[in-house]
């Protein structure tokens, strides 16, 4: 049934590229598989492969895994369901896999057959493709593409506070993460087109982030429209900078932005204007709201003109005096 599951000649690897965190992941998988009670001896490496899927939170992985249908008797799903009970990380996969009939003896036998090949595979680091051919219409293929850790990046960018730098730094460190791409029906399955497809999906993912960032991009569909909006937005931001710097030059003849001694935070807070500011629990600044978030307060009502009468729950008592001196210097 599973003949041609793996054709080792298609695999090409560079073991030397394995980096430390990668090895840690390897070890982690090894440890994970020991936890599994079911027949871990027989085909530890098939397990590894699927654990690798499970441990990755990548959306792409999981979505592709949802299409995962093994040969004939739904081997893969059985496999998942069989092994997933004792392993939490697989639950994500399980929930997405379609239900199938379970024939444990058959699957075990099949797994046994392929254990050697899989061992060979799993030991290797970087794979271009595994071709699995069947008599039936669907051709399925796995590509392990050496790419940035998509899961890390997607997780990190999902949380609003992480900077681009850290995600990029992390991606540079953990260079290897496998992206499983499944070829759809009727699509080419050779190496190049699949690598291209992986690249394209990366790009579309990044474009989605851009869409969230640029206001008003959600309505437009298609790459060209989104790119257009982005270009306009960037240009408008640049023009704003020009305009604001011109305005500052006019208003502020001494080029004085503030007093050096004060901490910058207090300095910022002093620049609040009259209207009451409701600070959300999560500090975030939109372009249209010209306010700095303060971390602590619930709501601020600062009147800039009368530093004597500042009615805030100030972080420090010396606030008032300092803000007075601030304004003295700025307004002159």
């Amino acid at each position: 049934m599973l003949e041609g599951l793996v054709s080792p000649e298609n695999l090409s690897l560079s073991y030397a590229d394995m980096s430390v965190p990668e090895r840690l992941k390897w070890l982690q998988q090894h440890q994970q598989q020991e936890v599994l009670s079911l027949s871990s001896n027989d085909s530890p490496d098939l397990l590894q492969i699927l654990q690798f899927h499970g441990s990755n939170n990548d959306e792409l992985l999981q979505s592709t895994f949802s299409h995962f249908q093994m040969v004939g008797s739904g081997f893969g799903t059985n496999y998942n369901m069989g092994f997933g009970h004792s392993h939490e990380a697989m639950d994500g996969c399980i929930s997405r896999t379609s239900s199938c009939q379970i024939h444990p003896p058959d699957t075990m036998g099949v797994m046994l057959k392929n254990s050697e090949e899989n061992r060979a595979i799993s030991l290797k680091n970087k794979r271009k493709s595994e071709v699995k051919t069947r008599e039936e219409e669907k051709t399925e293929k796995k590509i392990k593409v050496e790419a940035e850790t998509e899961s890390n990046i997607s997780n990190k960018e999902a949380s609003s506070d992480t900077s681009k730098e850290t995600s990029k730094g992390a991606s540079q460190i953990q260079k290897l993460d496998y992206i499983h791409v499944r070829a759809r029906r009727g699509e080419a399955t050779d190496r190049h087109s699949l690598a291209e497809r992986a690249r394209r999906e990366k790009i579309s993912k990044k474009m989605k982030y851009l869409q969230d960032l640029v206001p008003g991009c959600n309505t437009v569909t298609g790459k060209a429209g989104v790119l257009d909006e982005i270009i306009n937005y960037v240009q408008s931001l640049q023009r704003q900078v020009e305009f604001l710097s011109m305005k500052l030059a006019v208003i502020n003849p001494e080029l004085e932005l503030g007093v050096e001694d004060l901490s910058v935070k207090q300095f910022q807070a002093a620049y609040f204007t009259n209207f009451p500011v409701v600070i959300a629990s999560k500090p975030s600044v939109m372009v249209d709201v010209p306010l700095f978030p303060l971390d602590q307060q619930g709501s601020l009502n600062l009147s800039v003109s009368n530093p004597n009468q500042t009615s805030i729950d100030a972080p420090s008592e010396s606030w008032e005096t300092q803000s007075q001196s601030l304004f003295a210097s700025v307004l002159r």
């Binding site: 990044k206 982005i230 600044v285 700025v330």
Partner: protein
């Protein structure tokens, strides 16, 4: 991802530091001189926050270095020179007219279905837009692939947002102060 308060603070600090350089020559008589000083120091401050990790920041620093080398040197005293140089991509000089003409001929030879034509036009449009994006983002020419371009755009947009936020709040405060 939105600009955070720490980013705002850091930018403000660096910007102030940059403006200090211009303080001695305070009799910048014309508004344009002052505006130039403000803008340049703001740009370098924004770019220096990235410490040379992103392509656009390096390109921006290089750009301002051509205008005011001294300022750049002072503000970036802590950073090595090598990190700031962008690798130049091998550029193939192509005459646009010749390329266009040969493309037209090729197109004529190929037999096209309706779907192919639409797809080809869409691709052309996307290509044109990405080229437009490269023109807008500083250092766009140095980004070899589209993935990098989009990453850099993301980062650049966030930095621009912090810059605009800080400047706007300062202007607002200064205005409010003047109105008294």
């Amino acid at each position: 991802m939105q600009p955070t308060s720490t980013m705002n603070e850091e930018f403000l600090k660096k910007w102030q530091m940059g403006l200090q350089m211009f303080r001695p020559s305070i009799d910048n008589a014309s508004v344009s001189e002052r505006k130039r000083a403000i803008k340049l120091s703001a740009d370098v401050a924004m770019a220096s926050l990235r410490k040379g990790t992103t392509c656009w920041s390096r390109a921006l620093i290089q750009k301002t270095a051509t205008e005011d080398n001294f300022l750049v040197r002072q503000m970036l005293s802590g950073i090595k020179e090598e990190t700031l140089i962008n690798k130049k991509l091998p550029k193939v000089m192509c005459h646009r007219k010749i390329v266009r003409r040969s493309k037209k001929i090729l197109m004529r030879r190929k037999s096209r279905s309706a779907m192919e034509e639409v797809a080809a036009k869409a691709k052309k449009l996307v290509k044109r837009k990405t080229q437009g994006l490269r023109n807008v983002v500083p250092g766009g020419e140095f980004m070899s692939n589209n993935v990098l371009l989009i990453q850099e755009t993301l980062d650049y947009i966030v930095s621009l947002q912090t810059q605009v936020n800080v400047m706007r709040s300062i202007v607002d405060a200064a205005e409010a102060g003047i109105e008294r």
